[in-house]
Amino acid sequence: MTQELERDTDMTPTYVGVVILEAAIIVVLWFLGRAFS
């Protein structure tokens, strides 16, 4: 139980994925606003 609770692995690739997805969404929304204004 304690060992399971302490499971703590590096998730850097996931964090990078979060930032990339957010950047992509912002770019898409910006283009959407420009394209259909």
Partner: protein, 545 residues
């Protein structure tokens, strides 16, 4: 609402209560009741985190907001993914290893009992009032739409929620949240599908986007740095970041969700689920509002969606003026439809502006004749669309989704209020060495008590627009400051108990001053100001005294 729709709503509410209770295993001890014995999988915790954040206002209010102003509200969430990454790296491993029940327990370990009690007290006051408002806002709308009295609507949301939260504890809340999220996402996706089908019977989807875009409703991003503007890229990225750090890192209603995860990794994954999914989900909801706008370009909309005052207006001295506005509205809607169909942008925009003017005049007449200065039309747009335009059965599904959102947001909050009351006050200050059975019994009593308080607040808040505003502001008074005190504790070794306590008070005082004396600074920035003041004042007192 037809009998089949009612059947769907009743069957759904019965199912979530029964299944919630069935899943509440191992809740005969405090650890099981408040933390599910730290046994829940990441995906269930992640859905519970999202369900707790998503209230019914998110569905009825956000869609209405998108109907009137478009997608720009999405910027409010821009700080969320970054906040989740920061929290995954900092407080998640920290709280999990500390084996705390509440976030505020940590403050006693790091500073003193005074700081812990103050922080927990601020949470209890703010969250109890916010819970009342969380229930009031959808209850007001649904009571009008369904023709129920307000107390009956509040009871329809509260009673099942209090029952499963009290008996099943955090496990019942989490597993109920999982189901609620599926219903909400399923319901919203269905609504979008029906809207797209309805729109494309009249116009191509590309043309629909051009029509929405012509009115500015697809302008989601505003890069101007302007403290007067509520939603900009910068207020969302900076103010929103501080708000989300505080909400997910220091607010017990969220901290408790990820404390139930099996491990540090699973707690992280549960938060990162929101980091990936929250903005797309919010876009789905906002898109529904924009699509409702396009839908009503080709199908006749009501002049005002909130018809609660219709009889009063019809019996007033302004009845003739109101009827005249309705006739002008119908004519203008026909003109706008023709302009939209022949893609005449200039005529379409001119007609749309005249329609907005007519709606404003109608709103003024309603407010004048009824004295309802807080008259709100925005929250009624989507429920009106659901109940008048969706097929039988699906109406029931959507109403169930709104009830689901109201219950899932409030269940998590209620559970957290009981936890902070028992762990931070009752067990810490009053009865320190009682049996598990005793603590479990008072925990259930605390849950019922806070549930009743929330119902009373909800019924009273519904009739006082100003109270709702005060409650919303209250959250910003303490959120940033609470974040500041946790930053002092986690990121610095030199901060003392005295610095933390007085820094917390100073942060709240400054935010209070800014909120009332500098009202042009929009509320998202209050979170930044509060956190910075607590850190600066707290460090200064720690170093100098």
């Amino acid at each position: 609402m037809r009998p089949l729709d009612w059947l769907v709503v009743v069957a759904y509410i019965s199912w979530i209560v029964i299944d919630g209770l069935r899943r509440s295993k191992g809740t005969d001890k405090v650890d099981g009741y408040f933390l599910a014995n730290r046994s829940l999988p990441w995906w269930a915790v992640g859905l519970s985190v999202m369900a707790t954040q998503m209230s019914a206002v998110t569905i009825v209010g956000t869609t209405g907001q998108a109907y009137t102003t478009g997608l720009r509200f999405i910027q409010f969430y821009f700080g969320l993914p970054i906040a989740m990454v920061i929290l995954s790296l900092t407080v998640v491993p920290f709280f999990t290893r500390a084996r705390v029940y509440t976030a505020y327990e940590y403050l006693e370990r790091r500073f003193d009992v005074r700081t812990r009690s103050l922080a927990s007290f601020l949470f209890l006051m703010g969250r109890a009032l916010a819970l009342g408002v969380t229930l009031a806002a959808p209850a007001v709308v649904m009571s009008t739409i369904l023709g129920w009295t307000l107390p009956a609507t509040v009871a329809a949301i509260c009673v099942p929620m209090i029952v499963y939260t009290t008996i099943g504890g955090v496990q019942a809340v989490a597993w109920t949240d999982v189901k609620q999220m599926f219903i909400v996402v399923g319901g919203m996706t269905t609504a979008v599908g029906i809207l797209v089908y309805g729109i494309t019977r009249n116009v191509g989807f590309g043309q629909a986007l051009h029509l929405a875009g012509a009115t500015g409703r697809l302008q989601a991003i505003d890069f101007n740095f302007d403290l007067h503007e509520k939603y900009t890229f910068w207020s969302g990225m900076i103010g929103g970041l501080f708000l989300m750090l505080s909400y997910f890192g220091c607010d017990q209603s969220q901290v408790q969700r990820y404390l139930t995860a099996k491990s540090i990794d699973e707690a992280r994954q549960s938060l990162l689920m929101s980091a990936f999914v929250k903005i797309p989900l919010q876009l789905l909801i906002l898109a529904s509002g924009v699509l409702v706008f396009v839908f009503y370009l080709f199908e006749p909309p009501p002049m005002l969606f909130n018809r609660v005052h219709d009889p009063q207006v019809a019996a007033s001295s302004r009845a003739a003026d109101y009827a005249k506005l309705e006739r002008a509205f119908d004519r203008e809607v026909a003109t706008r439809r023709e302009a939209a169909a022949r893609s005449d942008r200039t005529a379409f925009l001119a007609s749309d502006t005249r329609i907005q003017d007519i709606r404003s005049s109608a709103t003024k007449i309603v407010a004048e004749t009824t004295g309802d200065t807080g008259y709100n039309d925005v929250n009624y747009v989507f429920p009106t669309f659901i109940t008048t335009r969706m097929p039988i059965g699906l109406v029931g599904l959507m109403i169930a989704a709104i009830f689901a959102a109201a219950m899932s947001a409030s269940g998590g909050e209620l559970n957290a209020l009981a936890t902070a009351t028992i762990i931070d006050f009752y067990r810490r200050h009053f009865v320190r060495n009682a049996s598990e059975t005793h603590y479990l019994r008072v925990s259930k009593l605390a849950t019922i008590s806070w549930g009743l308080v929330a119902c009373v607040v909800a019924i009273n808040a519904a009739n006082q627009g100003s109270l709702i505003e005060v409650v919303n502001r209250y959250g910003s008074f303490f959120y940033g400051s609470l974040l500041g005190v946790f930053i002092l504790g986690i990121l610095t070794k030199r901060a003392t108990a005295r610095g933390a306590f007085w820094g917390l008070l100073a942060g709240m005082a400054v935010v209070l001053f800014v909120a009332f004396r500098l009202p042009w600074i929009e509320f998202l920035w209050h979170n930044v100001i509060g956190a910075v003041v607590v850190v600066v004042v707290g460090m200064a007192i720690s170093v100098l005294m």
